[in-house]
């Protein structure tokens, strides 16, 4: 299928997408890099000047950066563990014969389609409210005091919300991978005398390893930039307790109007994301060759 004419048509037809994406990413990214070396505040226009790496020095030595970096890592790490472990368990569960399995599956994956702002407000109010929330009532049934989630365990609350949203993603992908597992393999293992536990560790888990990697990498990319859940529930607080890097950059840019500082923070976020992205792209690239 490679004639000169068709190769040329191919180039022409793929060009528009590549060009617009390039403009969308490269140009703003270049501007962000440029801004990150400027003293640039929207409140004092016309005062921009080149200050070298000062923004980076400020950003990287700011206690808020360390707090938000720690929060980001905690958030990403916790959600990953919860969703991957939960995803494997739920995937195994849904792979069994169950009465009304199709409908059950729909219920389990539903949270993924809930928009983040709805997710956040439903959890914050209807479930986690210390006075009228569902959890407070359940605690009272056991004679326990109600937990004021967003005051006493703000980051945990965010982690729970975000995990609930991303658990279905892990389930969907791991279930798909489970269903592609060759039955013969399991049966051969049974013939060899392997019990369910050995089958899980020697057959199922290795088969899932690739899907797990994909879940981890893709979730990481999205979780590094969790924003709406924080924006509508805690606003990053109390203090800096729920500020992650994405939110920190947002506050610097659109609340403090410090374009230079926010840009430096943005670049730091890009670097962090790219560390993960490299692995993911390698993995997918290998897949392309097959």
């Amino acid at each position: 299928m490679s004639t000169r004419a068709s190769t040329l048509t191919g180039r022409i037809m793929s060009a528009p997408s590549i060009i617009v994406l390039f403009l969308w990413m490269a140009v703003p990214l270049g501007m962000t890099i440029y801004f990150s070396f400027l003293r640039y505040n929207l409140l004092s226009p016309g005062m921009e000047e080149w200050i070298g790496t000062l923004n980076y020095e400020f950003f990287l030595t700011d206690p808020a950066f360390f707090a938000s970096l720690a929060n980001t890592l905690l958030l990403v790490g916790s959600v990953l563990i919860i969703t991957v472990v939960g995803g494997i368990l739920l995937g195994l569960m849904l792979d069994q014969p169950i009465f009304g399995r199709g409908i059950l599956r729909l219920l389990v994956i539903a949270p993924f389609f809930i928009m983040p702002t709805v997710n956040a407000l439903v959890w914050k109010n209807l479930l986690m409210d210390p006075v009228s929330g569902m959890f407070a009532w359940i605690a009272s049934l056991f004679g326990l005091p109600a937990i004021d989630w967003f005051t006493n365990a703000p980051l945990t609350s965010i982690i729970i919300m975000v995990s609930w949203q991303w658990l279905p993603f892990a389930v969907l992908i791991l279930l798909t991978a489970l269903q592609s597992l060759d039955r013969d393999q399991k049966e051969a293992a049974q013939m060899d005398g392997a019990g369910p536990v050995s089958i899980f560790f020697y057959i199922t888990l290795p088969h899932l390893s690739r899907a797990i990697t994909v879940v981890v990498l893709i979730e990481t990319i999205f979780l590094l930039t969790v924003f709406a859940e924080i924006f509508v529930t805690t606003g990053g607080g109390p203090g800096l307790a729920t500020t992650n890097i994405a939110f920190l950059v947002y506050t610097q840019a659109l609340l403090q109007f410090d374009v230079g500082g926010a840009s430096a923070g943005g670049i730091v976020a890009v670097v962090l994301a790219n560390i993960v992205a490299i692995f993911l792209i390698r993995l997918i690239g290998k897949n392309l060759d097959n």
């Binding site: 299928m1 793929s14 809930i114 439903v122 009228s132 009532w137 890097i245 659109l254």
Partner: protein, 276 residues
């Protein structure tokens, strides 16, 4: 393992699985239920499950007080608009990459993917400033462009993996049969790719509908979609749980239905074909 289950095991496992499933689904169920309560019942302790006065008042009031349909309309326009624009770009690009690959096609695909991994905060500042200078802040056009560009890599990838499954032979057969390029695409490729194109559109609509970084940061009122509308309930003066629930239910219902229909294709779209 399946073949050895006893009837009792089947029933008890099913009961267990359903309890787990219902727990996961509970927040959504509770939101829908609360939307039919009065504000007073919505915050009552102990919570009422069935025995309350069912009312549609919240749905009416959400529209009357806050002009719900304006936001819903914006959501529809943004989601559908960005999807249609994206489709035009993505179909041609994916066609070229799947059927006329060059040495650099793989690199181009991976590069497109890598743009998706750029955290939006990395470009928030310049995009915000450019939008402000160009008068695009809080406009539907500006947001359609952002959502289209944000999801373009996913659309290209999804269509690419679907097109890849169409045997090149068939397109070559059409060429031997004398079909010109446009005819080859219209009469042979597109009819065969309808399921793939449909699920690509659905996924894109879902992602655009739920997008909550750019829509929150680049809109204030005119172009604000439902994500922003719901976010406005976060302020203390907006705290009316029953109405919040009604608005939320309306906001998620259409997407939930679309999502349920396209769950299988979703895996492919979200993993860039790495898991099938």
């Amino acid at each position: 393992m399946e073949n050895k289950q006893t009837p009792l095991g089947y029933v008890s496992f099913s009961v267990f699985a359903w309890i787990v499933g219902l727990l996961i689904f509970f927040p959504i169920f509770w939101m829908v239920l609360t939307s039919f309560k009065s504000e007073l019942e919505a915050i009552s302790i102990p919570p009422s499950f069935i025995s309350f006065d069912w009312t549609l008042e919240n749905y009416v009031e959400v529209q009357e007080r806050s002009n719900y349909f304006k936001f819903a309309m914006n959501s529809v326009i943004l989601a559908v608009g960005s999807t249609l624009v994206g489709l035009v770009f993505a179909v041609t690009c994916a066609w070229a990459m799947a059927f006329n690959p060059t040495k650099r096609t793989k690199d181009a695909l991976l590069w497109m993917l890598s743009t998706k991994m750029m955290p939006p905060v990395g470009v928030l500042v310049p995009i915000y400033l450019l939008f402000r200078d160009w008068g695009l802040l809080d406009t539907r056009f500006g947001l359609i462009m952002v959502l289209f560009l944000m999801n373009l890599p996913i659309m290209v990838w999804m269509l690419y993996t679907y097109f890849k499954e169409i045997p090149t032979d068939i397109l070559e057969a059409a060429r031997m049969d004398g079909a010109t390029l446009p005819k080859e695409i219209i009469f042979v490729l597109l009819p065969m790719a309808v399921p793939g194109i449909a699920s690509t559109m659905l996924l894109n609509i879902i992602l655009a509908w739920n997008e909550a970084f750019w829509t929150l940061n680049l809109t204030t009122s005119d172009a604000a979609p439902l994500t922003a509308f719901i976010a406005s309930y976060s302020s203390p003066e907006g705290l009316f749980w029953a109405k919040l629930s009604a608005a939320s239910t309306l906001a998620v219902a259409p997407i939930l239905v679309i999502g349920w229909f396209s769950q299988k294709q979703l895996v492919r779209g979200l993993t860039f074909g790495a898991v099938k």
